[in-house]
């Protein structure tokens, strides 16, 4: 799951309540409201996070 650093505590609290341990990819906050150029950095970070988490 991709989450922003600001919302990571919420994701972890909800995961704990459901007794799951999601594999988290954390990117800078925010994502909503970014234009295409600003979003590029988040895409890079998310792809890097996914690659590292799955290899």
């Amino acid at each position: 799951m991709i989450a922003t650093e600001t919302f990571k505590p919420l994701v972890l609290a909800q995961a704990k309540a459901r007794k799951v341990e999601p594999r988290l990819i954390v990117v800078k906050h925010p994502v909503g409201g970014l234009n295409a150029e600003e979003l590029r950095e988040r895409i890079e970070a998310a792809t890097k996070g996914l690659t590292e988490a799955t290899t």
Binding site: M1, I2, P30, T55
Partner: protein, 93 residues
Amino acid sequence: MRIYNPSFGLSAASAEKVTLKPVNWKTDAIALISNSKPNARELLMGVREKLGAHRQVENIKFLAKNSASQPAPKDLLQEVATNYKAALLALGD
């Protein structure tokens, strides 16, 4: 003095710990699931495009629930469970 704990409750009986199955992220079918938060779709599609440098992307499919504020519908969950070995969700924002 003795007080009642206002946050006390019993754990839901059915909530057993969920374990994850092994996934081959280089080859397995993957679902990219957007919760419809703004830019979630764009973020996932950007990741999909970049994954194309390392693996085939034809079996990486985009799915979405149509409201960020509602739980995923059962048929969407069933579709993911039936057809995909892994899911990448976005977005906790």
